[in-house]
Structure formats: C-alpha cells, structure tokens
C-alpha cells in the first residue's frame, strides 16, 4: 500500500500532497507514475510529474490554483480509456485524477435528471436507476469503466447515439473549475437554454482544455417500452452497406445500426465473448429498434425485408434478452478483442456521409493492401462513423510508423468525401495534424482563440487537439517516408 508520508525534496510535490491530505492521495515515484504514462492510446508515452487524487471540488480548485500560480502544467484524467491520447501528460503534467470523486449525488426522476461527480462510471448510472425503469443514453463501448467526466471531455458517443444523440445532447448542467481555479456553474439547476453563450456545449467535447468538470447534471431517459435486435449476415460488404442506407431511407430511425467486417468478426470470435458468427461472411449488421411496442413489429418486418432484398445470407431476431446481451457484449468488446489476433492496434474514428460507405470501404481496403497491414472495420454504420482498426506489431521496427500512416490515410479518405476525422474519440494528440484535413489555419485559430479566453497560459492540457505549427509537418513527412 501507499506510503504513509511523503518523502521528497520536491517542494511542489509536498505542497500538492498537503492540498489533497497526504501520501495516500498522491503518486510521485516513477514506478507508480509509469501506470499513467498513457491512456487507451498507447503509441505515445510520457511520465507525469505527479498524480493527485482530490476528493471534492474545493481540492480540485486549490490544486488548479497552485499549478497555475506556480506555472506547473496540469491535466485532468478519469479512467484513462480515451483512444486519442487526451490524458497523456506530454508536458510532464501534474495529473489530477478524478476517480475518487465518484458519487452519484442526486437523482430526480420526476424531472428526469441526475447529478454525478466526474469519476462516476457511465454504466453505473444506468445500473443505479434501472430498477425504476430509467437509463442514461450515451453508451460508449467502454461504458463498463469509463467515467462520465471523461465522457463530457470527449463528448463521447456510442452505439445508441444514432437515435438518442451523443453526450452533449444529454448534459444539462456542469460545475467547472476554470484554469485559474475559479469555480463556476453553467446550465444552472439543469434548466436548458440559460441566457448567454452556450458554454455547456462548448466545454463538452473540449477534451479537458477549457476547464475541469467537477459536477455533471445529465438527462436520464425512460426505458423504451419495447426493444428488438436483428443480426444479419452478408456475403459481401456492399450489400451490407446498401442495406444500411435502405433501412434509413425507409424512414426508420434505429436505436443502433452497427456493422463489422470479416477481420473484425475474426477477432471478436477469437476473443472472450464469441457469438458463433460464421467465419466466411464478409459483413454483419447488428440493428436495434426500440420504442412503442405496437410499432416495433412493423419496423422489424421492414428491416427483414430490406435485408432479404440485399441478398442477406441469414438474418435473425434476438430470441430474448440474454441473446441480445451476448450480441452486444461481442460487439462492445470489439476493440479490446483485437488483442486476440494482433499484438497492437490503432483505431481510427472517421465519419463519412452514409451514402459514400461502399466507396470508402474499398479505399480503406486499398490502404490495407498498400501498407501490408490488416485493417479490421467495426463501425456505427447508421451514422457513418467508421472505426478502421489498423493491426500491427510494435515490436517489429517500422510497423508503428506504418500503422500511423495507414490510419492517417484512412482519415484523409474520410475528409475527401466530405466527412470528418473523428466522430467520438476526440483529437487528443493522435489526430492533431489531421485537423488540417478538415479545417483551415484560420478556422483552427478561431478555436485556439476561444481556448485563450479560458486557458490563457495554456497550462491545462496543452498540446492537445490542435496542430502545433511547423514541427508537426516534419514528423508527418517522416511518417510518410517511413511508410513507403
């Protein structure tokens, strides 16, 4: 267990420890810090100066103020499941870990809202209110362990955001510690449209660069009356992706519409939650509709019809909740499952207009062929959010660079067809350069201008989200050369 007292000559460590109440709430030995040198994005690593564990807003505010007064770079971290490196201390930051602020503070069923601390785990919210028939809609695949604070920072999505929207559509109010230590409350009392610029919307998805969220009021929803899930197997990818368009064009708004390709299916079937998908199919669709019971069957039969028309090999409706749960566990652990078929993977997160799906998939295929790396595809097909997973082995010299280049090339394809470089994972440090695929220098400056208002000294999570002028272009070039 942690040492009982802080023994170090570093006065900052001692002072930070005093703020959070001593040795049990601070880490500063290299061995302990090493566990914080990256998050879910493992390609870049950097040691933090220290990790502190505040227990309440006041402590967060004092820590922030101390860092700000002493010009120590700092950043906030939740469960560290982010996939773009947003919580990696690239400047040797003091990490303010919010995982001990994990209480569910208040649930107001009548007005459908709940207030949580940032370290509260996403799925625990639904679990805490499900007995009354309510749930929290945003469901990133990491919901078993990711924190709602992290979800706010990343504006996390999930399989069901096709119908219900992403995190920002479910946030009603925030308490935020600004980079100067000031504590503010926005979206007061969780009432929508409070007068003034929509800081709620601006801070959600700002990847922890504008402030540290310490309380969150979220909307909770009543469970849908009925839910049906369909699994469809296709012998070729384009039939699958055309079925996706057909379903949407039929005026159905599915709760989720997910797709996996052959390589992805190979991984999930080799991993911990296999379903028994046939190995020789090229694509599968997982489609869920929910809503009023009386209307569900009509939608299901429409979906089955669409699949038949697109030469589906086999299509079935989940028999019961346990079958449905197995299908979803299989899908939701898809990224981690890559470990079963490859030592390392790099997941991309491009979004494209749905109608361009077949074209984009074939271009990604080409990138895979050219780079010699396998690329698995798991994606939220309903909203065009692709997750190409570039499989590689970091132990083989040059492969990491190749994978990065292939990932970047996938994003270029997405940008080329009018899409974007990230739909839910965030830019972090991973896609800083790719921001240029979708924004001009002026547009990027318009954003950094806003950061300067909140975070004028850029001590809070610096080096994230935006390309740094000059240097990155060189790295980019090196990467491309390495890939050739």
């Amino acid at each position: 267990m942690a040492l009982k007292e802080v023994k170090t000559n570093d006065k900052h460590i001692r002072n930070l420890a005093n703020i959070v109440g001593g040795a049990r709430s601070i880490l500063y030995h290299k061995e302990d810090l090493l566990a914080y040198d990256c998050d879910g994005f493992t390609i870049h690593k950097h040691l933090p100066k220290a990790v502190v564990f505040p227990k309440d807003t006041q402590e967060v505010s004092k820590l922030v103020k101390y860092c700000s007064d002493n010009h120590l770079p700092f950043l906030a971290r939740g469960a560290g499941t982010g996939l773009s490196g947003g919580a990696i201390p690239v400047n040797g930051e003091v990490i303010i870990s919010l995982v001990r602020m994990k209480r569910l503070l208040h649930v107001d069923f009548e007005n459908r809202r709940a207030m949580v601390e940032p370290g509260f785990v996403n799925l625990k919210l639904t679990n805490s209110i499900s007995d009354k028939g309510y749930y929290y809609a945003p469901d990133p695949s990491s919901q078993y362990c990711c924190t709602i604070g992290g979800n706010v920072a990343e504006n996390a999505g999930g399989a069901h955001c096709l119908k219900y929207g992403v995190t920002t559509n479910h946030i009603l109010g925030l308490e935020v510690v600004l980079p100067n230590g000031k504590i503010i409350e926005i979206g007061k009392n969780g009432i929508p449209d409070s007068p003034g610029y929509d800081l709620l919307g601006l801070i959600t998805g700002s990847e922890g660069t504008l402030g540290i969220v310490t309380k969150i009021t979220v909307r909770i929803l009543k469970n849908p009356e009925a839910k049906q899930t369909v699994l469809a197997y296709f012998d070729n990818v384009s039939d699958g992706s055309r079925a996706v368009s057909d379903i949407i064009s039929a005026g159905i708004v599915p709760a989720a519409l997910e797709m996996m390709d052959k390589t992805a299916i190979e991984a999930v079937e080799a991993a911990a939650f296999p379903v028994g998908h046939p190995r020789d199919i090229e694509a599968l669709l997982l489609i869920e509709v929910d809503g009023i019971s009386a209307g569900i069957n009509e939608q299901i039969s429409q979906i089955l019809h669409v699949c038949e028309n697109r030469n589906v090999r086999e299509v079935k409706v989940a028999k019961d909740e346990s079958e449905r749960a197995r299908w979803w566990a299989n899908r939701k652990t898809g990224f981690g499952a890559m470990g079963a078929i490859s030592p390392d993977y790099l997941v991309q997160d491009g979004v494209i207009p749905r109608s361009r799906l077949p074209e984009v998939l074939s271009r990604i295929n080409k990138i895979s062929e050219e780079s010699g790396l396998r690329i698995a595809n798991i994606f939220h097909a309903g909203d065009g959010n692709l997750h190409p997973l570039v499989l590689f082995d970091a132990r083989i010299p040059g492969q990491t660079e190749k994978a990065l280049a292939a990932g970047s090339a996938c994003l270029q394809v997405c940008a080329d067809v009018g899409g974007t470089i990230t739909g839910e994972h965030g830019v972090g440090i991973e896609k800083r350069e790719e921001m240029r695929f979708v924004f001009t220098d002026e547009e990027i400056k318009a954003q950094t201008d806003i950061r300067e208002v909140f975070n004028p000294d850029n001590l809070l999570n610096a080096g994230k989200l935006f390309p740094s002028p000059g240097r990155c272009a060189e790295i980019k070039k090196e990467m491309k050369e390495a890939a050739l």
């Binding site: 942690a2 290299k30 090493l34 990491s142 981690g336 470990g339």
Partner: protein, 461 residues
Amino acid sequence: MSITESDVKERPACTTTSLSNYRWSDPPDENKWADCVHCGMCLESCPTYELTGQEQHSPRGRVHLIKSVAEGKLQVNEQFMDPVFACLDCRACTTACPADVDVGGLIEEARGQIRQAMPLTGYKKAVSKLFLESLFPHQQRMNALGRLLKFYQKSGMQKVVRKSGLLKVMPDHLADMERILPDIKEPVRKKYKGEKVINAKGETKHEVALLTGCVMDVMFSDINEATINVLTRNGNDVVIPETQTCCGALHVHAGEREMGRNLAKQNIEAFKDAEKIIVNAAGCGCMMKEYAELFREEPEWQAKAQDFSAKVEDISKYLHDTGYEKPQAEMKTRITYHDACHLAHGQGVREEPRNLLLDIPGVKMVHMPDAERCCGSAGIYNLTNPEMAGEVLKSKMKNVPEEVEMISMGNPGCMLQMAMGVQKYGRNQKVVHTVQLLDWAYQKEDELRGERDGIKRSQNK
C-alpha cells in the same frame, strides 16, 4: 549490470531479452502481455483499483509495469513489488478482459521474480516460512495444528483467551480471525486412513479421487466429509490418494514458484491413476488446472501437468455434469451465493452451484449484488495485506442481503473471510459450503424416511 533509461532510449523500441530486468528463469511470459491493448475494460472489475483509484493497482497498470521491467524501464524493487503483491489474484480482470489476457498468470510469474530478487527477511520471512514451507505441505503437522486448535477450543482455553482481553492486544486481523475459528473436527484423511476405496452407496457408476486439501481437511473436515457423502450417494467410489499434498496455490500466489513446482509434481504423481480428481476448494482446483503454467521451462512435466489438469473438476461442476439425485426433503431457508473468485473467474463455474442449490426443495435464493466480487480472502492475502483485505471485505459485506440466513460458496478461504465479515459487522448469517447444504438435505431426507419407515414399521406391528 544496471540499465539506465538513457541506454534504453538509444536502442530500438523493441523488446529483446537483453533489455529485460528479469534476471531469473521462468520470467513473465511476453505473449501474455502482448494481448493487452491497454483498453481499460478491466479497471472496474478490480477490487484494489476500486478502493485506491490508482492505476498501478489496476490490472492493466500491473501488466504495464510487468512489461516495463521486461523492457528495462523499471527495476525489480520495492516500488514494483507493492502493486504486484497488492493484487488479490481474484482473476476478475480475466473475466472482464475482451482479449483474454492472463493477468493472474503474469502476476504470479512476476512475484516469482520478485521473491528471487528480493528474498523475504525478518518477520515476514518467518511467517511465510512457517506457513508455506513448514506447515501446509506437511499433513502430519497440519493435523497436529488441528489437534492443537481443537485442544484450544475444547479445553476452555478459547474461553479464557476471549475473556482475558488478550484479543485486544493482538493485531486486529489476527484477533478477527481467532473469533471465527471453525469448530475443529477429525480430518477425513485420518478417519479414512487405510481405506483404499470408500464405496458408493448403491451401484458404482464412477470412481473418483478426492483432493482433501491441507487447510480444508484440518479446519473444515466436515466439508470433506460432506463431499464424500454426496459423492458416494451419487454412485461414486471415492479414493483418497495417500501421497497427495497441498496444491501449492498459496506458494505460487506468494511467488514461491519452486516450492509450488515441487508440490505440483508430488500431486501429479499421487493422482496419476485417477480418472477424475474432485476438488471442493476453488483455489486448489484453479491452481491444479493451471499446473502447466509452472512448467514452461520443463516440457516433459508440462505435458504431464496438462494431462493432470484435464482430470481436475470442481465438485459442483462434476455433480452437474454427471448428474445427481435431487433431494426430497425441504430445507426451508433463504440463502445467497457468493462466487469464489477461483471458481467463477478461475474456472468459469457460476451456474452449476446455483442450480445445485436451487434443486434443494425449500431453498430460496436471494441475489447478492456483485456476487462475483472478491471477498478479500485471496489465499493468505488477508494475512499479508490485512488492511486492503479488510476494505474489500467491507464492501463485500455491504452486498450481503439482510434477509438471508446462509451464505453459500465453494471455497474454504472465502468461508473464513466471510465468517469474519459476519462476525465483524454484526451480521447473523451462517457461512456454508454448497456441498454441505446438499449433504444436509440428503441427511434430512434420510431422517424423514427413517421416521416414516419407523412409523410404518410401528403401524405394521
């Protein structure tokens, strides 16, 4: 030789053995951590992460540290030891992991390195030596300890100690343990000594060998007795091989892998004629199913170990697979079930014991939230890390439903720990082994039948 970080940087970022700071044989297996992509799905499953919120105390954090030593970024030292030894070895992360990373295996291998690099000293060494080397592997000594404890209880000394206030000056966790010492009975190995086979009641369908376990047979010989009763009642001849010994789980958990290997070899030999090896202690069963892990550097033994492991089965799973007679007598009790880590996460046995309990008429099962959460026993973890174990137990006890009369489970370590929880938090549940409940139901049925037959007989007269 020591490798500094600057050396590392100049070399390519791939792992070659030359960088590794693991200096001993049987180091953590690179293929195990290669599966880990650092996704974090394991975090919430880990009791020590839940309590500390610190990632070096999480599965992926530990894997990251273990890997970092191999990459030469860390030394095997005190700071590295802390998170590696704070792991409860509950395997919940293995269940949660989408890529099936064998975190438990890595931890044990790392502990092996630590123990060799930094042998225990002083008090800790003495305690470890006492339990692991001098006690558990030696059945006579265990029995002697049992007799001593029995004497302690029967002689009235326990009462004296409890009144004396001696408990107040003992370390808290030892005092807690004293309070829940089970009633010591005669070990089955002693009782059936010399009996080659304990015959099935009725027609013999199978022959099985029983691992009596070291602690089990001393502290919980009644559970062994119940296991034998249940097995024989369901058509099994039971053999208790004389030369069997402690399974070695505690040694392996503690990093004493060489000792573990010796015990494993002895058991592999002892049970070589058995077709099926029945275990009623989840920890032992799990270890014995993983013997092959110990022999990565001894292929000959590894093959033997694999054959051996294939024969090992938990009692509840065995009964479930081979069929058992459903008891007729009504037990009328409300119970809850706790998943022993090494049964649920270690062996994937979850539904079998529950079904077995539900097959007893009158048993009402109340769901325990987070039933798969570790109780904090974790072998001798509650002796070595009493503070963390206490916290884990505290959150476990919160989930024990108020209204139940019994808590059933399939592991003696858990039973001791849960009994301590019941005592400590003023609860009143009886802690039982799944097989005991079944045995009691059979006994009650027999009694009733006896009475009925008696009545009939008297009526006939």
